[in-house]
């Protein structure tokens, strides 16, 4: 989603006009967008073949580091990195081992989007800019390198440490899963018109599937209801940290902590942060009022002070 400069500047001007109008955007609890797309990963179905990891590298033109990927390294890369937007980890869980696929969770209310100064990381359909060619309302967290200053606040903010940084490059970028937004096919219809993750396409076991978040959530619930003995009762991402668009099912007896997920409250940290930091500003009124009051007080005291300066004995 490289944006042409022209549409970009147009967007900038429009948004600039929008900021002049008072923004009554109190940050309410964010609900998932109706057309939100995502993935459902079922840890009990994953066979650990890492076909998704290879497909992801191919689809995103990421180099395959021979030291971490190839026939001699069936485990593939151990963790997300600037050259791996998704990995499958083997973790000790529930008294045995379990696979877990990692990638950006595409949060319902993402901390990285709240953090990003210029909106380089933005949620499709939720940003205030209309970036050319983006289908609205999918909620995919997209990255626009032309707006990124490389401050890495997104990495500090992300509870899953999903965004990765090209540490060894003079002109680095942030690397993270964008749900193969670039592979979308408008003619394909359905959710495939907005994104088409390569990992879901190649998974031989159906362990990771792509679709609308609402459908995936229903599917996850159906699987749990059908085989309650097979699954842990929780669906990670349903409400965690305000919810995510990538949902996770784990095997019975496996806790998501063991799979490496953080323990998150229901309220997203983005909401907490914006609630706490915005509140004292009163829509920008406080700084103006403070400035006016300070200028008034200082000016008056200056005037009084210059009287005193003429006969300094009075002072102190």
């Amino acid at each position: 989603m490289l944006v042409s400069r022209r549409s970009f500047v147009k967007g900038a001007v429009a948004a600039g006009a929008a900021t002049l109008a008072p923004r009554a955007e109190a940050h309410e609890a964010v609900e998932p967008l109706p057309d939100a797309v995502g993935m459902l990963y079922d840890s009990t179905r994953c066979v650990g073949c890492r076909a998704c990891v290879a497909a992801c590298k191919e689809a995103n033109h990421l180099p395959a580091d021979p030291s971490e990927f190839g026939p001699d390294h069936p485990e593939g890369p151990a963790d997300l990195s600037a050259t791996a937007k998704t990995v499958v980890q083997t973790r000790a869980a529930g008294g045995s081992e379990a696979f877990v696929k990692r990638q950006c969770m595409h949060c319902v209310d993402p901390a990285c989007v709240s953090a990003c100064m210029l909106g380089a990381l933005h949620k499709e359909g939720r940003g205030k800019r209309d970036t050319g060619g983006e289908v609205q309302g999918t909620g995919v967290v997209l990255y626009d390198p032309s707006l990124c200053v490389g401050c890495r606040y997104c990495q500090i903010a992300c509870a899953y440490v999903a965004p990765r940084f090209e540490w060894r490059k003079a002109f680095p970028r942030i690397v993270k899963c964008e749900l193969c937004h670039g592979r979308r096919g408008p003619s394909k219809g359905d959710a495939y018109a907005v994104a088409n993750p390569a990992c879901c396409e190649v998974c031989p076991a159906g362990a990771v599937i792509f679709g609308y978040r609402s459908a995936l959530l229903a599917e996850a619930r159906r699987r749990q209801a059908e085989e309650p003995a097979r699954y842990a009762p929780k669906i990670f991402g349903e409400v965690d940290g305000g919810g995510t668009q990538v949902l996770y099912l784990a095997g019975a007896g496996v806790s998501f902590k063991e799979l490496g997920f953080p323990d998150l409250p229901r309220e997203s940290y983005a909401r907490l942060s914006e609630r706490v930091s915005h509140a004292p500003y009163l829509e920008g009124l406080t700084p103006v009022a403070l400035y006016a009051a300070a200028a008034f007080v200082i000016r008056r005291q200056r005037a009084a002070g210059s009287h005193r300066e003429e006969n300094p004995e009075e002072e102190r």
């Binding site: 900038a12 001007v13 948004a15 600039g16 006009a17 929008a18 900021t19 955007e25 179905r45 066979v47 069936p74 485990e75 963790d79 045995s96 901390a111 989007v113 709240s114 953090a115 100064m117 210029l118 032309s146 707006l147 200053v149 490389g150 401050c151 990495q155 500090i156 903010a157 440490v161 965004p163 540490w167 060894r168 003079a170 680095p172 394909k188 359905d190 495939y192 031989p204 076991a205 159906g206 953080p262 998150l264 409250p265 940290y269 983005a270 907490l272 942060s273 914006e274 706490v276 930091s277 004292p280 700084p287 403070l290 400035y291 300070a294 200028a295 200082i298 200056r302 300066e309 002072e315």
Partner: protein
């Protein structure tokens, strides 16, 4: 503004030994910075995706600007609360602030990965108003400019004192014009720090799952604001003391002590807010978990409470050296709180480790050195520091300089007559109590006795003792246990892996395997069947999925 309080140029050679040493330190940093722009941030630092800010952001920005908040703190007192007597402190504080903030801003530029995109920041349309960092960036950028504008009167003053009549007239004219605009500039210098200093604390609100709960609270912005004021007051006292002992700057002990009482109040407010917040959020039980978080918390609390107590003591009020130390402690307290929240008590996950690399430390230290050098150079040529009248006549002998950094324990040889108090001989761990002034210490002249300051003795010992009792058994036990256990586990695991590898040749350790390893033949057969069933189910699933997708298109 009394006549003798008016700032003067310090004069003297520009590049003396101190300045050259400071600039040489910065040269190392400059080399590291140059290499960073060529080879990337990872080439000079140990920063990683978990600790993506390393020490540059937390120290160079958050701590430096905390020190630079002296301009804000003194400005609040002097201008808003109309305490004109603090005016002599304003110019050095503003210069310190301008330098600290400029260095913080420069450090950001170095730390930014894609700095060339920074120009978008000037377009309001591009702003993401939810971003706390945006608020910090814009405010800090504006405030750096405001601070340097606040320095301008020094430049006009200097021109007004110039020998050339034309320049002097220019300086006087513009100085007067500028004086009329000053209230509006100062007002913004009061508002901007209020905004960004609180936001600097607010940066971590987003990282709620990573920051230890003893540090993460919705009060972070308020705590950061209170603590930056206290750091600022502390930094001004430290700076004034250093200026006095190096350039015999004018130094009003009574004034500094009075200002420090405000600081003491702020320190107490900080502690009260923090403890109240812990109690309110039911986090007090965390104070019973003996780990390094608690140890750091305890050290912070000591650093906050001890200077607060000292500022209200009559002895400290009179003693320059004690006041200096207490002020230094407040700066350290604020710095430690910031570093803890951003680095030491920041935990992005078990697999992330971070220790600053030489390059990072070199840049941080080099930046601080550059700041000191710039301060010296500017005060030598521009009227910033208010000097004692005595200093201005060349014949006057330099004022006596108490050694600020001498050990607070003050060593004295055995047998000498000393002040009353508690003494310790570290080599032999011997203690002695001297009851009256002038009594002699025991042991021969070779023995070195250290005096334990009363306050440290009474406050520190119970605390240290308590911590010792609380932590030591736990630390010892866990270290011993974990050492034994990891050793045992490692040996057993390795033996087990080798043994299985030998006994079951087809099973390769480390390969992806479906579910466990077959034990006996019976179990293997059973497992085989189970797996077949599983595969059948998978096949069905795949077919279903494929049909669904094909139908979907």
């Amino acid at each position: 503004m009394r006549a003798q309080a008016h700032p003067r140029t310090v004069g003297g050679p520009l590049f003396d030994r101190t300045v050259i040493a400071l600039l040489a330190t910065f040269a190392v940093a400059a080399a590291v910075i140059a290499y960073r722009f060529k080879a990337g941030i990872g080439a000079v630092s140990n920063m990683n995706d978990g600790f993506s800010w390393g020490i540059w952001e937390p120290v160079n920005v958050v701590v430096f600007t905390g020190v630079g908040a002296g301009a804000y703190a003194v400005g609040l007192l002097c201008y808003l609360l109309n305490r004109g007597e603090y005016h002599a402190l304003v110019r050095p504080a503003v210069l310190l602030g301008a330098i600290a903030y400029a260095l913080g801003g420069t450090s950001v530029l170095i730390a930014l990965g894609r700095y060339w995109n920074l120009y978008w920041l000037v377009l309001p349309g591009m702003w993401n108003l939810s971003s706390v960092l945006l608020e910090v960036a814009l405010c800090v950028m504006t405030y750096v400019a405001v601070l340097w504008i606040e320095i301008l009167p020094a430049v006009f003053d200097r021109a007004a004192q110039s020998a050339s009549a034309k320049r002097a007239a220019w300086g006087r004219r513009w100085g007067a014009r500028f004086g009329r605009a000053m209230p509006y500039i100062i007002a913004s210098a009061m508002v901007l720090p209020t905004m960004h200093q609180s936001s600097l604390g607010g940066l971590l609100l987003l990282a709620g799952s990573k920051v230890h709960p003893l540090w993460h609270t919705p009060l972070l912005p308020l705590l950061a604001l209170v603590s930056c004021l206290s750091m600022g007051f502390g930094a001004v006292v430290v700076l004034t003391s250093i200026l006095r002992f190096t350039w015999s700057a004018r130094h009003d002990q009574e004034l500094l002590a009075r200002m420090s009482k405000v600081n003491g109040g702020l320190l107490l407010v900080f502690v009260a807010l923090r403890m109240g917040d812990l109690a309110l959020h039911g986090k007090l039980r965390l104070l019973l978990v003996p780990d390094y978080h608690l140890a750091l918390f305890a050290v912070e609390m000591i650093l906050f409470l001890v200077p607060a107590g000292m500022f209200f003591s009559h002895r400290v009020e009179r003693k320059e050296r004690l006041l200096f130390r207490a002020a230094l402690a407040t700066v350290l307290a604020g710095a430690l709180w910031r570093v803890d929240a951003f680095i030491t008590c920041f935990d992005p996950g078990a697999r992330w480790h971070y220790r600053p690399a030489f390059g990072e430390i070199a840049v941080t230290v080099g930046m601080a050195a550059l700041g000191a050098a710039v301060f010296i150079l500017i005060s030598r040529r521009f009227p910033v520091v208010a000097l004692e009248e005595a200093h201005l006549s060349a014949a006057a002998p330099p004022a006596p300089r108490p050694n600020l950094l001498r050990s607070p324990f003050g060593a004295s040889p055995g047998g000498s007559a000393v002040r009353h108090g508690h003494y310790v001989r570290l080599r032999h761990l011997a203690f002695a109590v001297v009851h009256r002034d002038g009594e002699r210490l025991p042991d021969g002249a070779k023995a070195r006795w250290l005096r334990i300051p009363g306050l440290v003795f009474f406050l520190g010992l119970p605390l240290v003792g308590g911590l010792y009792v609380l932590l030591l058994p736990v630390v010892l036990l866990t270290t011993a246990l974990s050492a034994i256990l990891t050793g045992l586990l490692g040996v057993t695991r390795r033996a087990f892996v080798y043994l299985t590898a030998v006994l079951t040749p087809p099973w390769a350790p480390g390969r992806a395997h479906l579910a466990g390893t077959p034990g006996s033949e019976e179990e293997a057969a059973l497992d085989e069947a189970r797996r077949d069933g599983h595969l059948d189910a998978l096949g069905e699933e795949l077919e279903r999925e494929r049909r669904r997708r094909l139908g979907g298109r």
